[in-house]
């Protein structure tokens, strides 16, 4: 159920902004904080939540710690979307068939 955690992590608008800043490539905490009206510790906290949700990975680059989007986490969300349409269509099928029976 990784996607549930991921979706929850993305429920916070600031966290979405943080993730958005990683779309262009790996970034350090300070670089992200410089572009947001949020403190550096707050950005670190958001990154931790995103990392636990599997959406972000970190690596050491010399003296800097760089964060980037984790494509595997995103693949999980694609599966989620797939399931989303499956559920919606199953529900639609039941409604359409009930209507067809009603008409007969």
């Amino acid at each position: 159920m990784a996607y549930a955690q991921a979706l929850q992590a993305l429920g916070d608008p600031t966290r979405r902004s943080v993730l958005e800043h990683l779309r262009d490539g790996p970034r350090a905490v300070g670089e992200i904080a410089a572009q947001l009206p949020v403190s550096r510790p707050a950005v670190s906290q958001h990154l931790r939540v995103l990392k636990e949700a599997g959406l972000v990975t970190e690596r050491q680059d010399g003296t800097r710690r760089l964060y980037r989007v984790d494509p595997d986490g995103l693949a999980g969300l694609r599966e989620y979307l797939d399931g989303f349409w499956e559920e919606a269509l199953a529900s639609f099928k039941a409604a359409a068939e009930a209507e067809e029976r009603r008409k007969k």
């Binding site: 991921a6 979706l7 929850q8 993305l10 429920g11 979405r16 993730l19 958005e20 990683l22 779309r23 262009d24 490539g25 959406l55 989007v69 494509p71 995103l74 693949a75 969300l77 694609r78 989620y80 979307l81 797939d82 989303f84 349409w85 499956e86 559920e87 919606a88 269509l89 199953a90 529900s91 639609f92 099928k93 039941a94 409604a95 359409a96 068939e97 209507e99 067809e100 008409k103």
Partner: protein, 146 residues
């Protein structure tokens, strides 16, 4: 990898109803079957409907949010709409196309949810480093999912 993650989602289901009924239930009666308790901006008490050329969700207290705009509407054949639940219109929408094809006594319904490629193409035009469109998609579904 990018092409894998951005290719359209395609779903097919066979329905024991003729295309006219299937199309009508999908569009005119979306509020009867859409799983609002799981997928809505306002929760299980909300309603959703095709209203003119828009798909609109309304809360019991009268708030509204537009999920998408209808692009094609061919009765008993095909409906195509932009898809941006939880986001403002025009904010890089994806697209959904649903076709209804007669199949014996029933209808073969095909749903294609695409437009991710376009999103990342647009992004690539300005930013070369990272072209995965999924974060955007996720934000959208985060807003939609309860």
């Amino acid at each position: 990898m990018t092409t894998m993650t951005t290719e359209a989602i395609k779903k097919q289901i066979r329905v024991d109803a003729n295309p006219e009924t299937a199309f009508d239930v999908f569009t005119s009666r979306i509020g009867d079957w859409w799983p609002l308790e799981h997928y809505s901006v306002f929760g299980r008490e909300a309603t959703v409907a095709f209203e003119g050329d828009r798909i609109v969700e309304r809360s019991p207290s009268g708030e509204e949010t537009v999920w998408g705009e209808v692009l094609d509407f061919e009765v008993a054949g095909r409906v195509r709409f932009t898809w941006h639940p939880g986001r403002e219109a025009g904010d890089e929408p994806t697209e959904v196309e649903v076709t209804f094809a007669s199949d014996g006594n029933g209808t073969l319904v095909t749903l294609v949810h695409g437009g991710w490629d376009r999103l990342s193409e647009e992004r690539r035009a300005g930013r070369v480093d990272y072209d995965n469109g999924w974060p955007l998609v996720l934000e959208r579904y985060a807003a939609l999912s309860k």
